[in-house]
């Protein structure tokens, strides 16, 4: 993953207070997690480190729920996210915990609909920036600075190179490719400057050994405020 700092990452994000790492970054983590996961009815939110210590005062929990409801960090409805979740009949549980050694102090794990293997773990790295570090136990590095295609496959069945060759054959403007592996499964993270169409994805999913794909549009750091 390429983390680059634009003027508007430094002078930004535009956001609802009080904390860029514990509120805006948390909201972004929630947003990225739901984008990776897709539709859901229930989410368990495990807070780690400084997130677990001071989440109440920073509205970290409120912001993560706002993010999983697809709100931006500047959305004035952010502080009402718990009520909105109830209206949408989405169950959420806030669970302060210790996720173990070696993690960034501002880390959260989101488990959607009790599906641990698709859980999304990410860190808020300061100034509103955030990175997804794990999907299930597979290490990834996802920031959505570029539009991103995720491909989950069993590498006992197919080699990463074969998947990459298939993606390359679609002739997309690729910025960066990374692979993460845990036991027999891998995720390819492919950052691109354009779109993968549903037809492109169908071609990739047709490869034997590919379990799922997900294409996620990048997050702009320009504000689009309407209120």
């Amino acid at each position: 993953m390429s983390i680059s700092w634009s003027v508007f990452d430094v002078i930004g994000p535009v956001m609802i207070g009080p904390s860029s790492s514990h509120t805006a970054g948390a909201c972004r983590l929630g947003y990225m997690a739901q984008a990776i996961n897709g539709k859901f009815k229930k989410v368990d939110i495990y807070l780690h480190g400084s997130f677990a210590e001071v989440y109440e005062g920073h509205c970290t929990d409120v912001a993560i729920v706002a993010g999983v409801l697809q709100m931006d960090s500047f959305d004035k409805r952010l502080e009402k996210s718990f009520e909105l979740a109830k209206e949408k009949e989405i169950e959420y549980n806030i669970i302060p915990t210790d996720l173990g050694e070696g993690l960034h102090p501002n880390t959260v794990k989101l488990v959607f609909d009790d599906n641990e293997t698709r859980s999304v773990t990410g860190s808020s790295i300061g100034g509103g920036k955030a990175v997804i570090n794990f999907i299930g136990k597979i290490p990834v590095s996802i920031s959505l600075e570029h539009s991103t295609l995720l491909i989950h496959f069993g590498h006992g069945i197919i080699k990463p190179k074969e998947v990459i060759d298939k993606v390359n054959s679609l002739s997309k403007n690729i910025v960066n490719i990374t692979t993460g592996q845990y036991k027999d499964y891998s995720i390819l993270t492919i950052e691109v400057r354009e779109w993968f169409t549903p037809a492109d994805l169908a071609q990739i999913e047709a490869i034997e050994g590919v379990n799922w794909t997900k294409f996620i549009n990048h997050l702009s750091n320009f504000v689009n405020i309407e209120d």
Partner: protein
């Protein structure tokens, strides 16, 4: 040739190699290269953000009832009243005005209002505070302020690339320290300093912030964060005056940023945004927090 920069040394080199007018132009060119956006689009977005900053400051200045802080005393309106009454000041009027706007933005932030992190929410008051006060005092056109904000972003990009803005990782030096030093460079630009002098001002102001603990009461972005934004303002102005008078930073900016990293490694996690050390564990901090929690419980009951 790429115009991207990850150090102050490189930034200054790019300016002289390309005959840029200064830091603002260099940052604009780098942003164009990085994002593919045009200069006009970038400057328009800066303008939008400056307006949001001003709105945030103005939200609470005249009306303490708009301040929804949990433990911090509403302060901006007191400063406004004192300035309007013309009470004798020991600091310069521009410093106190910048203090007013900085604290006002932070009170808006603590009240879950909309702000622009610069570079973080906990340090969101310093840049707008100084920019609004400079504009008011010296009648500076908006366009020039937008360029100054680019200068501050340039310094911020160097810190982000080599260190962090995260207080959970590096304490308050990474937030108020970064913000104050970014703002010093921006004020330097508005005050007619050379790019080298502006970088010196940034280096001096950051040096003075090394080691700053992040120890807020109850982990809330209120005490000492709100008023510390006011002190970040004074630190920036002093650094610019020093650089303008020809004072130098014996340690170059890029090495000061490295030093911040080193200090971070020596900081116990109790003073890195966990509310387990420093001011957060004083008897009065505990009392203020308990009073707030009791009040909240009573409201919910």
């Amino acid at each position: 040739m790429s115009k991207l920069f990850y150090s102050a040394a490189k930034l200054l080199e790019l300016i002289s190699e390309n005959n840029f007018s200064g830091i603002a132009e260099a940052v604009l060119k780098a942003e164009e290269e990085l994002t593919g956006r045009s200069a006009d689009e970038i400057l328009a977005e800066i303008g939008k953000r400056y307006n949001i900053m001003k709105d945030a400051a103005n939200t609470v200045i005249n009306d303490p009832t708009k301040v929804k802080t949990k433990v911090a005393d509403a302060s901006a309106y007191k400063i406004k009243k004192a300035i309007d009454a013309g009470i004798p000041l020991l600091s310069s009027l521009i410093t106190i005005k910048a203090n007013l706007y900085a604290i006002a933005v932070m009170e808006c932030n603590a009240s879950m209002g909309r702000i622009v992190a610069a570079p973080t929410a906990g340090s969101a008051g310093i840049l707008p505070g100084c920019m609004i006060a400079m504009q008011e005092t010296y009648n500076i056109p908006d366009q020039k302020i937008h360029e100054a904000i680019l200068v501050s972003a340039g310094i911020g990009i160097i810190i982000a690339a080599n260190a962090t803005f995260s207080a959970a990782q590096a304490g308050c030096q990474a937030e108020i320290g970064s913000s104050s030093c970014m703002t010093a460079a921006a004020i330097g630009f508005l005050h007619g300093l050379t790019p080298e002098q502006s970088v010196t001002a940034a280096a001096l102001s950051l040096q003075n912030m090394l080691g700053l603990a992040c120890d807020p009461i109850g982990g809330l972005v209120e005490v000492p964060c709100i008023k510390r934004n006011g002190f970040g303002v004074s630190n920036a102005f002093t650094a610019v005056d020093m650089a303008a008078m020809g004072l130098i930073s014996e340690i170059p900016f890029d090495e000061v940023v490295e030093a911040m990293n080193n200090v971070a490694k020596n900081m116990n996690s109790n003073i890195r945004e966990t509310a387990k050390g420093g001011l957060a564990i004083t008897p009065t901090a505990k009392k203020l927090l308990n009073d707030y929690l009791a009040k909240k419980r009573a409201e919910n009951a």
